[in-house]
Amino acid sequence: MSAPHIVESTALARPAAEASRASGLWAFLVIVAAMAALPFFASTYTLTLMVPFFALAIALLGFNLLFGYTGLLSFGHAMFLSIGAYSAAVMTSKLGILSFELILLVSIAASVIIAVPVGFLCVRYTRIFFGMLTLAFGMLFHSVLYKFYGITGGDQGMRVLRPLLFGMEFEGGKTAFLTGPFYYYALGLLTALGLLMWRIVRSPFGLHLQAIRENAQKASYLGVEVTRMRLSAYVISGVYGGIGGAILAITIGLADPEIVYWTQSGNLVFMAVLGGSGAFIGPVVGSLAFVLLQDMVMSVTQYWRFVMGAVLILLVVFFPGGLSGIAGGLFTRFKRGS
């Protein structure tokens, strides 16, 4: 018999944690700067892809606090995307409140309200049990959204109307809004939340999370409040997911149950590993690569699942460190060569 919270973590085949290296911040700022310059030369189509990327990157920054830093693999994190998405839908099309700032606040509040009890129940478990419990909660959400047609619109979903940004209304077509003001608004959010996350992972709090990932039992003897820290990480990651979901819903114009189906949670894990869960920049790289790859593959073939699945398999087998792992390896080789 042993208390569940001191379940020993096994040696993970995780790439060397470069999580707190300063290079992570620089890489993040370079990507943000590139995104800020993008509207000056990229096509409108490319820009419409970037807003979902910002949304997913925000959600993944949160996801990676839980997965990469705390060592908890959630297989139901799309739940928070749906919380943000349905918050936006209820606010805009049911209550007629269009202020995006208020939508964000409500999304954050709703995420916290859900994350605290769900997290409280889930974080007592680790490893596959945590994954399964979060998956079950995600699917519970899915079936609620799917089946209770009267409230949620069922599989039709709910419409998400164009919001006001800082109280301002924007004329023109949907694309102009998404690639213009909303593009910069979402990028601004990504920047702010990225910097905030940078502070979080480099705080004593973030250090304690990493100690839990490495060895929860040892950490507890060094005074780390394992359960409380895990819950805090879960709630923070949920809030990031909720914000990401609200942005995503506005770009799609719809909140539907598909956003919380378990395969969507699987895609989030895919993105995290694609970018490299051991690196701060991993979530941003992973979501960008995923969005671009999926768009490219879908435009070429109807069998995009096959290609995405094959990429995922190759990645897991040959490059478990993800793209940032590959880049880090190349960088080291380059430095050694010169």
Partner: protein, 275 residues
């Protein structure tokens, strides 16, 4: 002499199995206690009870007069008692600096605000460097723990417990897996560190009778969940029956070691007196 830790008539049973029966022991200020006994004697259960991980079925464990039965590791650390591990138990991917920082930031209560900077925290940095200095780990501060040698990992494990600035530390076979040549230097370092860091008492669980003889002030021998003996080393090692009960198969070897016991136990008591 004040008592740091006291276990009084502690019993721990799992169903019909009595892991510990009426175990009493105490650790006074400045003392180095060794817990010895053959495998299955109940040492690890006793350690878990003494460190508040398990609540005794009956009896009481008190640290500085207050009950610590089943309080759990975090509260234990907060009250001033630390525990090192038998198996090397460091955080493989964290650097030495980060590992020591984990303990320092919980001692200094820095984790309430997730936006607080770690690198700019002078107090944590000072605490980390102080402990690293004591354990000769300064030159390794920015190495990940997995890159350390076995002996260094052992040191880091104990050092991280020291970074909590405990009054009492419990170490489980601090030199297991370390070469015979290194084990004395590690023990010397430990006792030296104990003095520098203001630790008031040490409990070690140890199989190696050489180390037990050389450093302990008192030896508590367990057998089948009961205290078989609680003696000073000079008394303990004069009783062949006792040694045989504790060590099992190799009592003859102990004669020569017992011979040089006087000098070594003197140094041990000098050291712990300075503690």
């Amino acid at each position: 002499m004040t008592t740091l830790l006291e276990a009084r008539t502690v019993c721990k049973s799992y169903g019909d199995f009595h892991a510990l029966t009426d175990v009493s022991l105490s650790v006074a200020d400045g003392e180095f206690i060794s817990i010895v006994g053959p495998n299955g004697a109940g040492k690890s259960t006793l350690v878990n009870v003494l460190t508040g991980l398990l609540r005794p079925t009956s009896g009481r464990v008190a640290f500085r007069g207050t009950d610590i039965g089943g309080i759990g590791p975090v509260e234990l650390a907060r009250r001033g008692m630390a525990r090192g591990f038998q198996l090397v138990n460091v955080f493989p991917e964290l650097t030495v600096r980060e590992t020591l920082g984990v303990a320092a930031s919980s001692r200094l209560k820095r984790t309430g605000n997730p936006l607080r900077s770690l690198v700019r925290d002078r107090e944590i940095a000072d605490a980390v460097e102080e402990v690293a200095e004591i354990f000769n780990l300064r030159h390794r501060l920015d190495q990940p723990a997995r890159a350390l040698s076995q002996g260094e990992k052992k040191l880091l494990d104990v050092a991280s417990a020291f970074a909590l600035k405990p009054e009492l530390i419990l170490i489980d076979e601090p030199t297991s897996g370390v070469s015979t040549g290194d084990k004395h230097s590690i023990m010397e370092l430990l006792i030296d560190a104990c003095r520098k860091a203001g630790v008031r008492g040490i409990i070690q669980v140890e199989h190696d009778m050489d180390l037990v003889a050389r450093y302990s002030d008192r030896i508590v021998a367990l057998q089948a969940g009961r205290v078989l003996a609680d003696e000073k080393p000079e008394v303990f090692f004069k009783d062949p029956a006792l040694i045989a009960a504790v060590v099992g198969t190799r009592p003859p070897q102990l004669r020569p070691k017992a011979a040089n016991l006087n000098t070594s136990s003197e140094t041990a008591s000098q050291r712990s007196a300075a503690c």
